[in-house]
Subunit: 336 residues, 2 copies
């Protein structure tokens, strides 16, 4: 007997092996959710996936309906001491400040230059828009992508001492993988500029650029030296937190998710809308309870306040991941 042709394992070349993984709903999750402790939270996730992938079962959802949405900051990665995009904006305002001497005395630039976060917060959305516009525009789309990627390559989260694209919370990365391997399409929503996260979302989270939904910048079509380009204008349509978020998701995708993952009051309406879709659903709140391994904050946080949504979630039986109880690892061991 010739093993080379009759042993089925020889068919399992790398792409095929991947295809098998992708097509088989290994719904027990045992082989993927390593960083989750056994217990009701992990069980709720696994049971949900089992229910919606069991063909012929009463709660079956066909693959086209398996839509999962994840908030970015605080859900997929830490948002302390400052969210990653704010870190980028502050660095960029500083780098550009020699060209704009007036910024030293003009708000919100003055507070950005002195990293006075409390003052920045007091300028609200309008202040953030002004800073974002200054940091994110005036160049082609390709130039902006290179600017983001080269900043990312030389910057680390100061407390975790890891590059930002390797700050993904390991249990959430496993969850993304588990859902995708069960036929889900995974999306990320963020309040900031989608164009900031898109160039590195595939590497960091396995999410392609068009599945990243956030604030969007308008561009101007120009022909430069015979070649058409898009120039980023200082004109943003801000992704709204709260009640505006379901509509923004619907505009971008035409769908209502059946699974939503968040960590703050800004995610509440998105999660309520997901829970009301009429099919089996999963809404999961990440509760930052572990100051030793990550950060501990909730009702009084400056970034990612979790107050109303925590009360609503508890009252309505939502799944709440308590980092300390539910997780045994927080980040990948090594940094590449």
């Amino acid at each position: 007997m010739n093993n080379r042709t009759t042993d089925p394992r020889h068919l399992m070349t790398a792409p095929l092996f991947l295809a098998v993984l992708l097509s088989s709903p290994h719904a027990n999750g045992a082989d993927t959710l390593h960083s989750w402790n056994g217990g009701p939270t992990r069980f709720a996730v696994i049971q949900f996936v089992k229910d919606v992938t069991t063909e012929g079962g009463p709660q079956y959802v066909p693959p086209s309906g398996r839509i999962a949405v994840f908030s970015h900051d605080g859900t997929l990665c830490p948002e302390q001491p400052v969210p990653v995009e704010l870190a980028f904006i502050l660095d960029r305002i500083k780098a550009l400040s020699s060209r704009y001497p007036r910024w030293k005395t003009k708000e919100p630039f003055k507070s950005a230059l002195s990293r006075n976060l409390t003052a920045l917060a007091s300028f609200g959305t309008r202040g953030m828009l002004e800073l974002t516009a200054a940091a994110h525009s005036g160049m082609t789309t390709e130039e902006f992508e290179s600017t983001v990627m080269s900043w990312l390559a030389r910057t680390r989260n100061p407390r975790l001492n890891r590059p930002y694209d390797q700050c993904g919370l390991l249990p959430m990365l496993e969850l993304l993988d588990f859902l995708r391997s069960s036929g889900f399409k995974t999306y990320i929503v963020l309040r900031g500029d989608a164009g900031f996260l898109r160039p590195w979302a595939e590497k960091a989270y396995g999410v392609p650029p068009d599945q990243v939904i956030g604030s969007s910048v308008r561009t101007r079509f120009e022909v430069r030296k015979g070649a058409p380009i898009l120039v980023r204008r200082p004109d943003f349509e801000m992704m709204e937190d709260g009640p505006g978020r379901p509509g923004a998701f619907y505009r971008a995708t035409g769908r209502r998710p059946i699974a939503a993952f968040g960590n703050s009051d800004g995610d509440l309406e998105m999660m309520q809308w997901t829970a009301a879709g009429g099919t089996r659903h999963l809404v999961l709140l990440v509760h930052h309870t572990n100051g030793g391994n990550e950060f501990a904050y909730d009702r009084k946080a400056m970034f990612g306040r979790l107050d109303k949504a925590l009360d609503f979630g508890r009252k309505n039986g939502w799944t709440i991941a308590d980092m300390t109880k539910d997780w045994n690892r927080f980040f990948t061991k090594t940094v590449k």
Copy 2:
């Protein structure tokens, strides 16, 4: 020897077989492009796909970069005697008119009710926005989808006598399949409301809702009887033709396509932008030259005028599909 465990063919269950098909770039296209006549147009398509899928080749593009964009009306389906969304809007304005007696004397409603297309065209974008808002809003997102689907089920293109979701131009459907089977992600752009096409784009073209990019409607988040819903508001952001289209595609996806398919002057800038991306690319114009099998029009058409883009394409060596020369079949034989 037990065949059940050793014969590799037993591994080829349906999903696996599909996965194998999907992962192998059958780049000669012979098995898919049946409705295309042999000749330079068909060859240009096949050669392009071969070049970008040949690993190690000088023009290889990894799957994540294989982005193809198709205009809708006139490229994937006929846009005569009126584009499908306009047919829907006119029917809906008529159906709603008993509630709004003033429409009989008020433009642009008056011309819509009398189906005076020339007059309608004279009201421009503002007129279309007003009609679209009246026809597409004031209900939940789910209610709008049902309205579209039930209209679709009872309406036919009056000259082709086919349901609109079965009016896809067969050679273009084959092209969509061929590209997808070669690892491309296929998108549709349309000037009208993406929410009108999204519910049936998967069935008609194999394109999922979030890969349909068009005008977008704003929604209002409401809680009705305890359940959150989205209500469509009469507030549209109109997808621009021409120079606005590359930016709209970029905003939605964060990408520049490497293949673009269009049929009118409104597609020119999208195609120019695609051609200037710096990788191997394909830009293909569909030229409606066959009044017997479909419709014949170009420089003087009311819908889908092809004038500037035809000259530019010819001058710059773009691929131009002449329906009469390049196609041997236009529609699927049977209607379901």
